[in-house]
């Protein structure tokens, strides 16, 4: 196989030719500024608004003005949380989860340094959120609750509708980081009852540097940057027209192809079942049912994740790992640790994330390559008995 087998779609996705074609004119002859008075700019504005409408429909929102274009989900998350806190200055409590993306988690850590109280809601061994804990944590001082829809490492879906209903009753702003759900499951911000919903273009086949924040009509927030009138003053700065148009096209495609996600799930399940059957020491990280169709996270025991990735890379397969070594930090992923995944398999955890462009052939190829990769590393491992073909008892549980 000469081409790359790309199973890292939760990291970023391919920009298909239709999306590239849609954006190209705006990198060339149609360079007008949508804010200009003349038709050369004004015509471009029409394309931007069409893209806004596509994103609105994808999220099930009522009004186009509820969509604010940003540079990506990190900005969207920051805008939702900081924008709310700077409006409701008297409220000093934020609720989020232990398994959020760094875009939210590190913002919350920063808020703690500034004197905010932050509650990090735990998850169980399958990565499911402790809803009771979240509900109990809400009090009069709570300014905002920020919860991801789907986890980027395990794909586990959180019950955002239940949370939304609970918070709506109490009038507490609710932000959903929807990055990993968009294009994989149907989205309806009205069903969720959220006030904010963050998305990132490059996770659903638009280019990098594009994103949006849904802001429910009437939501009280302050902008985080100051400048022109763009996006009704909520996100000043000349619009990234090529990126926005591309994201609009990608949103159209995502809606059109949503039904194909069942097929993605079939391929994902084939990969997952194949691996778990072939490696008795491997285990699934995350709830097998309550998750997006494209993700599986598997922990291989006695071998280390970065080494697996490097060997897969040699075979032309791109995946991702929650191991400490591959991230440059020294501890395995905060998500796996929050789930209590034992260190023995957390270090050897691999995330495979598919897309609608993943083929059966690619999955079969991956299944055929994995045994030699794992076996080669087991042979190297001091924790594996090559004679008996079994793991050695682990001694010394601390570092």
């Amino acid at each position: 196989m000469n081409e790359i087998v790309y199973l890292d779609n939760n990291a970023t996705t391919m920009v298909p030719p239709e999306v590239v074609d849609a954006m190209l004119p705006f990198l060339g002859s149609r360079y007008g500024n949508p804010s200009s008075m003349h038709d050369f700019g004004g015509d471009v504005s029409d394309d931007v608004e069409r893209a806004r409408d596509s994103v609105r429909r994808m999220l099930g929102a009522d009004n186009d003005y509820e969509i604010v274009f940003t540079s990506g989900a990190t900005e969207s998350d920051n805008l939702a949380i900081m924008g709310t806190l700077s409006y409701h200055k008297d409220k000093r409590h934020v609720i989020t989860t232990r398994v959020e993306h760094p875009a939210v988690l590190n913002l919350c850590r920063q808020l703690e340094r500034q004197g905010y109280r932050v509650t990090y809601v735990p998850v169980d061994a399958r990565g499911n959120l402790d809803l009771h804990y979240l509900f109990e944590a809400v009090d009069d001082d709570t300014a905002i609750v920020s919860v991801m829809y789907a986890n980027n490492e395990t794909g586990v879906l959180f019950p955002v509708e239940e949370i939304g209903a609970f918070l709506k009753e109490r009038g507490i702003p609710f932000h959903v980081d929807g990055v990993q759900a968009v294009g994989k499951v149907p989205i309806d911000v009205n069903k969720i009852n959220c006030d904010y919903f963050a998305i990132s273009g490059h996770k659903f086949h638009a280019p990098k540097g594009t994103g949006a924040l849904y802001v429910r009509r009437g939501t009280r927030m302050r902008p985080m940057q100051h400048g022109g009138h763009q996006e009704r003053g909520r996100r000043p700065g000349t619009l990234n027209v090529p990126g926005i148009v591309a994201m609009g096209k990608a949103a159209d495609l995502a809606m059109e192809h949503l039904k194909e996600e069942d097929h993605v799930a079939v391929l994902r399940d084939r990969l997952e079942k194949g691996l778990l059957k072939r490696f008795p020491n491997a285990s699934l990280n995350g709830d097998p049912t309550l998750r997006v169709p494209n993700t599986t996270n598997i922990g291989f025991e006695f071998v280390e994740g970065e080494a697996i990735l490097l060997y897969l890379n040699e075979k032309g397969i791109a995946a991702s790992s929650g191991s400490a070594c591959s991230s440059g930090s020294l501890e395995p992923s905060h998500v796996l640790r929050a789930m209590g995944v034992p260190f023995t398999s957390a270090h050897g955890s691999i995330r495979y994330s598919l897309s609608r462009y993943t083929t059966e052939k690619e999955i079969e190829y991956t299944l055929s390559v994995m045994p030699e990769v794992i076996e080669k590393l087991l042979e190297l491992s001091p924790f594996w008995d090559n004679e008996k073909k079994e793991g050695k008892p682990v001694t010394g549980i601390s570092c």
Binding site: F302, E304, E306, C325, E331, F343, S381, G396
Partner: protein, 283 residues
């Protein structure tokens, strides 16, 4: 993607000397599966000369490459010659390692040092393979190792030390201690004098209470709060410290472990080494 050299790539793709030597003269194990990397080194001797070396490694690409390099480097050397190999030599052999991966070369050197010590008949405690005082609790890194890497690699920042030894790379609560050790060792290096550690004086009751309070407020509480817990200092009676665990910690199934491993250890570390912590259960 890491910026690995061609040599590192070559060696993790096709590592040399993988496996066990059944009749090895010495076997040295360092690291653990919990830490994320571990190395077992086997050496076979003919008199004073190393005639065979094999390894098994659990770890990332650079850990595998460092282990492979180590076995190639010691092969054919006398024990005295092998003793001179430092982690720096391993890095050089590999044509360099990313800063964050320096600890892989240190692991190689540690295994070699341990093997050579065992051969000399020096006692190596298998359970606690530590020399010196543990500075970084998360990764079990001692002051001895920190001083050694500072000296041998001419390190000048705390970040360097984390990259080389992992110390301070997880909870970060020992970073100030690492900084102190760094300053001390840099000073020593400048003066080329051997450090004399100040002796601990017995504490007065007032001083002890003050230190207990400070340790709980500045060190223990922030750690517990990260997991949604908290701690209340109830009373101090001589060297007995009564505390109450709150929040998540209170009904945590491992509250006993928290009490002994965290609260008591920290108090013993920062106050006195015979402090006893007693939990007051909430009625």
């Amino acid at each position: 993607m890491w910026d690995y050299t061609g040599k590192v790539k070559e060696l993790y793709k096709a590592p040399k000397n993988v496996g066990v030597i059944p009749d090895a003269d010495v076997v040295a194990e360092v690291g653990s599966i919990v830490c994320g990397d571990a190395l077992t080194l086997y050496l076979k001797l003919d008199g004073e000369k190393i005639i065979d070396a094999k390894f098994q490694t659990f770890g990332c690409g650079s850990a595998i490459a460092s282990s492979s390099a180590l076995t190639e480097m010691v092969m054919g050397k006398t024990l005295d010659e092998a003793a001179k190999i430092t982690n720096k030599d391993i890095v050089e052999y590999l044509g360099g390692l990313p800063e964050q991966k320096m600890h892989c070369s240190v692991m190689g050197q540690e295994a070699l040092t341990k093997a050579l010590k065992k051969l000399k008949g020096e006692t190596v405690e298998e359970e606690e393979e530590v020399e010196g005082e543990i500075v970084c609790q998360c990764f079990g890194v001692t002051d001895t190792l920190i001083k050694k890497v500072v000296r041998e690699n001419d390190l000048s920042t705390v970040e360097d030390i984390t990259n080389y030894t992992k110390a301070g790379g997880a909870c970060g609560s020992c970073l100030h201690k690492i900084e102190d050790i760094l300053h001390e060792e840099r000073k020593n290096m400048a003066e080329e004098n051997i450090a004399v550690k100040p002796e601990k004086k017995p504490l007065t009751n007032i001083k002890r209470m003050q230190l207990v309070e400070e340790t709980i407020t500045d060190i223990v509480r922030p750690i517990l709060q990260r997991d949604g817990g908290n701690i209340e200092l109830v009373d101090i009676d001589g060297k007995k410290v009564m505390v109450r665990l709150l929040g998540n910690c209170a009904n945590c199934v491992i509250s006993d472990v928290t009490l002994k491993n965290l609260v008591q250890d920290k108090l013993r570390e920062f106050v006195e080494d015979d402090i006893e912590v007693i939990e007051q259960v909430q009625v």
